[in-house]
């Protein structure tokens, strides 16, 4: 069975190669090929999963070593895979949700002339993401890490003729590169400390490394996670990334790629366990982002950007849980998977709405769509209930566990983190209710598109609704399934698990969670359900205006890095031209001037030459005499 692991990556990779190099011949059939190969990955994943279930809990990890990637003395990087329970969870999520989104894209991208290339990029993404979670060492993980970054870049900028899309793609890649810097520095520290960067040996010998080193590695890994998972302070790219086609937002910027940071932290659990300082920073980053994303999500009128804020916030939950240590790892992953279902479903629903509304994204121009798009309404509604943590749905189980674990952290920290997660849950309920009400309820506020065509909202084709229905099923059932089928026992051999001792009883926490959810929903209903929604956004309070602009973080980046950077490069270009080049040119000019002077000596008068000969001889004789005298 082990030998099938490479095929997981290989199948979509083959698809990407064929589709991107195949040329126009494949325009008609390319999307089927791409979908098929993604499905092949999923089927192989299922087969491996079945095989894995058949083994005992301690013997489930599988390995496949292909060849040595970079054979240099003292530095062995292998192309080798490791498939354990954690990777398996991701493989199923990535290939499963990935396949569904391939199917969805067949319908969504039907009228795009570059659909073949779109599927090529999607396949490339699936391959890189699987490589990321299957790698058995940090360098290969880095390979996948940058690979998904590339796929994300290509897909965000898929509609390259729009300058905003091209800018968003570039921004995403560059911000991610800052995170990648963290990952490469972490690998460098690992190599100098442990002499290797393979998961097994590194994680097994964390006990022997110094606390400072481990903290440094942890912080660098966190930087990488911040970049990929859009955590503060590297979150600014995610909102802009919504320029990409909606299936991309669903797959990459909601369900899978952005959760890679959580994977990285959970995978490096042993390092973080031994570095409490780094863990503390992880929880702080998670808590800050969780509120940041939620606040931004409340203010956005663009349906996809509101969902992007929500994604940021939900990943904040996961990062926070991962920072809690063994009491949180399992729940971080559990929330990651349930989030993968309901957020992908929400995005696909948003895409379906846009599909029917002439690609309008402003929720203020929606309204009353539930009658026109019943399937979309129901699936989106189930996703909505799941994300706000409606009892019984998947989000309820996973989020409730994280809140419980946050309290269980203990001490003042525990109280603060617990309060933050509860507050986040309330805001989540608020902004998601807002999205729901503005889109599907209330009056019609539709506007004609720029060409003057009125929108004709209609239900999307089967290829789009079926994935939405399947994801809605996942959103409903996944939480309960995990809860009762033993997700904790499944992951425990990899991540470790400890029961936290919460100062509050589990029932209290659950009651509080449900209570804050009801408050959030109620507030939103008062504001958006009872009153008509204005088509032009009101000016709003200072906080609202700041939140619309991503809490001014983008403006800060622009002022400091873009404007400042431009000035630096401009002045350096000037310096290079005048100073560095000038020194050389100045030397040349000085030599030229000197030779001009010397030339005057050569005036052609024989007597002048005679003088110089005579003088030279005199100097020589004098020197000789002087030397002899000395």
């Amino acid at each position: 069975m082990e030998n099938l692991i490479a095929l997981l990556v290989g199948a979509p990779l083959l698809g990407a190669a064929v589709l991107l190099c195949g040329g126009r011949r494949l325009d008609k059939s390319g999307h089927w090929l791409g979908t098929l190969l993604a499905a092949v990955s999923f089927v192989i994943g299922l087969a491996l999963f079945a095989d894995m279930l058949g083994r005992s809990a301690d013997d489930r990890a599988m390995y496949q070593r292909l060849y040595t990637w970079i054979p240099v003395e003292g530095f062995q990087a292998d192309i080798a895979f490791q498939l354990d329970q954690l990777s398996m969870t991701f493989v199923l999520l990535i290939s499963g949700v990935g396949t569904l989104i391939h199917v969805y894209s067949i319908g969504y991208m039907e009228h795009d002339e570059r659909r073949r290339r779109f599927f090529g990029y999607l396949n490339l993404f699936v391959a890189a993401m699987l490589l990321l979670v299957l790698a058995d060492n940090y360098l290969l993980l880095y390979f996948g890490w940058e690979g998904v970054g590339l796929a994300s870049y290509l897909l965000i900028g898929f509609w390259q003729h729009k300058p905003s899309a091209a800018t968003a793609a570039k921004k995403a890649f560059i911000v991610n590169r800052v995170g990648d810097m963290g990952l490469s520095i972490a690998i460098m520290i690992m190599f100098t400390t442990f002499g290797t960067f393979t998961f097994g040996p590194v994680l097994a010998s964390t006990g022997e490394a110094s606390q400072g080193t481990l903290t440094a590695i942890g912080l660098m890994l966190l930087l990488a996670a911040c970049g990929k998972s859009a955590q503060v302070p590297l979150q600014s790219w995610l909102g802009d990334a919504m320029e990409g086609p909606t299936p991309v937002s669903a797959l990459i910027h909601a369900a899978t790629m952005v959760t890679a940071g959580v994977y990285l932290i959970v995978r490096s659990a042993d390092i973080f366990n031994a570095a409490p300082d780094a863990q503390l920073v992880v929880t702080i980053v998670g808590a800050v982002t969780l509120l940041f994303g939620a606040i931004v999500g409340c203010a956005k009128d663009d349906i996809k950007k509101a969902l992007a804020g929500s994604t940021m916030s939900q990943i904040g939950y996961m990062i926070l849980a991962a920072g809690l240590g063994p009491i949180g790892y399992v729940f971080a992953i559990m929330h990651l998977v349930t989030h993968g279902f309901f957020k992908a479903g929400l995005f696909l629903g948003a895409g379906s709405v846009m599909h029917g509304m002439n690609d309008e994204v402003d929720m203020r121009k929606y309204g009353g769509l539930r009658k026109y798009m019943p399937v979309t309404f129901v699936t989106f509604g189930l996703g909505y209930l799941a994300i706000i943590g409606f009892p019984g749905l998947s989000g309820f189980f996973s989020k409730d566990k994280i809140i419980e674990a946050a309290f269980a952290k203990g001490g003042t920290e525990g109280w603060i983190l617990g309060a933050v997660t509860l507050l986040g849950a309330a805001i989540t309920a608020y902004y998601m209710t807002r999205v729901m009400l503005m889109t599907f309820f209330g009056e019609k506020r539709w506007e004609n598109d720029p060409d003057g065509n009125p929108p004709h909202p209609h239900e999307s084709p089967k290829s789009m609704t079926i994935p939405m229905i399947l994801l809605a099923v996942g959103s409903v059932a996944a939480g309960a399934y995990f809860e009762f089928a033993g997700f904790v026992e499944w992951l425990e051999p990899v991540t470790g698990f400890a029961h936290g001792h919460s100062p509050l009883s589990a029932a209290t926490v659950t009651a509080a969670t449900v209570a804050v959810m009801v408050i959030g929903v109620g507030l939103a209903y008062l504001q958006y359900g009872r009153r008509p929604v204005p088509v032009v956004a009101p000016r709003g309070s200072l906080l609202t205006r700041a939140a619309r602009r991503d809490l001014l973080q983008d403006d800060f980046n622009h002022a400091v890095f873009v404007t400042g950077g431009t000035h630096v490069t401009r002045s350096l270009v000037y310096v290079d031209h005048t100073l560095v080049d000038g020194v050389v040119n100045g030397t040349a000019a000085a030599v030229g001037g000197l030779s001009g002077r010397l030339r005057k000596l050569q005036n052609g008068y024989a007597r002048t030459y005679a003088v110089s000969m005579f003088g030279g001889t005199a100097v020589l004789i004098a020197a000789t005499l002087l030397m002899r005298a000395v």
Binding site: E73, F143, L150, A169, R177, T193, G195, V580
Partner: protein, 526 residues
């Protein structure tokens, strides 16, 4: 007396150059095909060298030795180690693509008469450069190397000054003035470096009594040749200065943007991908091999200069308005990485630096040649004159993007392997330097993606609406280069196998050992 394989690899292109130059004026196309065939024959010979070379064997293999100037002990002495083999392979690999990419660069303008001859000259000069570069990678006699090091300036001077980029702004006279300025600047910079090296070469002869690299290194190693500390340092500086000009290292870099901007794209590739590599190669072979103590003495200063090169070159690349100058500054940044790797004096750093030389050659060739195809279509080098090319010429844009991604060291493409090795190798000995160099990867993403965004994406500009996509000849240039980039990116073993033993030799030259991991016995835990 064994078969003179190494001489042949240089003699074939040299003879080809003479033959090409002798083709009658009217038979222009024949001259081109002849040059291409000769370069392919050289590639075959280089492949034979690559195969015949035994990584586990002697340090210098396929050696040849003949007396040349007996009175001064100058010998015609050739031999290759793994680093030389890798660079010979790079040179022989790139030249056919350079010739193919420059197929029409020296065609007569319509105003010229049919007796116009420079087409032949252009290809003859390229082959001449190839011959000299290959021979300089093989020379194990310091004097022979010096002669080649200087001699290759002559054909390069004519290539830069005589065959400028036809895409220029302003009048023809203005462009010609700019071009000759660039060519003279190139020549003067390198001549000054060469003169200082000549002084050092003579100094070395005075101290050592012969010019043989192998003999001097051996005598130094077993202690029969003592050098006073100051003498060694001065000689080292003399050599290093010449190589740093050629490499080029900040602040001696300013000739490169001019030369690469004014030359045609294939010649620009020749400069940065092939000729400049002689500089970094010589640092490894001559500076470290002959003056190990002085090398260690100068390391801190050189590392600082290399770091400045990395960051400064990248920042300047961001600020460029001219595509070719942008690639030139990017190259300066990459040369910073190469020099950093060499002087980090760790196995990973030096292996990385050697691979970097090869990979940078291929990736820059891919990026620059595609940029050249783009420029020749629109007739402008300014980034601002393009926009939306992706829509009109998707294959051109795609290959340009891959070239760019290779330049920013994306994993899966060859430069990643070498860049990461350099970073790891540097970090192991100088953590701060390693971290500063890492910022280079962010800046590289910035200049590559800004370039791509401004030229290829966005609304289609009116002037580029009619741009044709890549033609068959151009695809024949780009596709193999990209294939090599991907192959070496996922499977660099053929190259590392050859390079590793040579790096071990260099490491023992400078008597350095890799820093050991702080946590021992990891293997036991495995």
């Amino acid at each position: 007396m064994s078969f003179p394989l190494l001489t042949l690899t240089a003699a074939v292109p040299a003879a080809g150059a003479i033959l090409t130059a002798a083709v009658p004026a009217a038979r222009r196309t024949a001259a081109k095909w002849l040059a291409l065939l000769v370069s392919l024959a050289t590639l075959v010979l280089a492949a034979v060298v690559f195969v015949r070379f035994e990584p586990g064997g002697e340090r210098y293999q396929l050696t040849e030795s003949h007396a040349w100037i007996k009175d001064f002990g100058v010998r015609y002495e050739l031999g290759v180690d793994g680093i030389g083999v890798a660079l010979i392979a790079l040179t022989a690999l790139l030249i056919p693509f350079v010739i193919l990419a420059g197929w029409h660069d020296a065609d007569p303008l319509e105003t010229k008469s049919s007796r116009w001859r420079p087409t032949q000259g252009f290809f003859a000069l390229i082959l001449m450069v190839e011959a000299m570069v290959i021979l300089s990678f093989e020379a194990t006699d310091v004097f022979l190397f010096y002669v080649l090091f200087e001699a290759m300036l002559i054909p390069m001077y004519f290539l830069i000054g005589g065959f400028g980029d036809r895409a220029h702004s302003g009048s023809d006279e203005n462009a010609a003035a700019q071009r000759s300025y660039a060519a003279v600047k190139f020549l003067l910079y390198n001549l000054v470096g060469g003169l200082i090296m000549l002084a050092a070469v003579i100094g070395l002869y005075v101290v050592a009594g012969n010019f043989s690299l192998t003999e001097i290194a051996e005598a130094r190693a077993n202690g029969t040749l003592e050098m006073a500390t100051n003498t060694e340092r001065l000689l080292f500086l003399g050599f290093f200065f010449a190589f740093a000009v050629k490499a080029p290292l900040w602040p001696l870099h300013t000739w490169l943007p001019n030369a690469m901007g004014e030359a045609t794209a294939p010649v620009a590739v020749l400069i940065t991908a092939v000729v400049d590599k002689v500089g970094t190669f010589a640092m490894l072979r001559f500076c470290l091999g002959l003056f190990p103590e002085a090398s260690k003495w100068a390391t801190p200063a050189i590392i600082v200069l290399a770091l400045i090169s990395i960051v400064y070159g990248a920042l300047l690349a961001v600020g460029q308005r001219d595509i070719k100058r942008l690639v030139a500054y990017a190259s300066i940044s990459h040369f910073g990485f190469i020099i950093l790797g060499i002087f980090a004096m760790t196995t990973q750093g030096q292996s990385g630096a050697t691979l970097y030389m090869v990979n940078h050659g291929i990736s820059t060739a891919a990026l620059m040649l595609v940029a050249g195809f783009l420029i020749s279509r629109r007739g402008s080098r300014l980034i601002a004159d393009y926009g939306g090319v992706q829509k009109v010429a998707p294959v051109l844009a795609g290959t340009f993007l891959i070239g760019g991604l290779a330049t920013l060291s994306l994993p899966g493409l060859a430069p990643f392997v070498s860049e990461f090795l350099v970073l790891v190798g540097t970090y192991a000995r100088y953590p701060v330097a390693g971290i500063i160099a890492t910022t280079g990867i962010v800046l590289a993403a910035l200049y590559v993606l800004v370039l791509y965004q401004r030229t290829m994406t966005g609304p289609v500009k009116e002037e580029v609406r009619e741009l044709p996509d890549l033609r068959v000849r151009e695809l024949a240039v780009v596709v193999p280069l990209i294939a090599v980039l991907i192959f070496l990116g996922v499977f660099p073993k053929p190259l590392t196998d050859v390079v590793n033993p040579a790096v071990q030799h260099t490491m023992s030259d400078v008597q350095q050992k890799d820093p050991q991991p702080t946590v021992p016995n990891v293997e036991a835990a495995q």
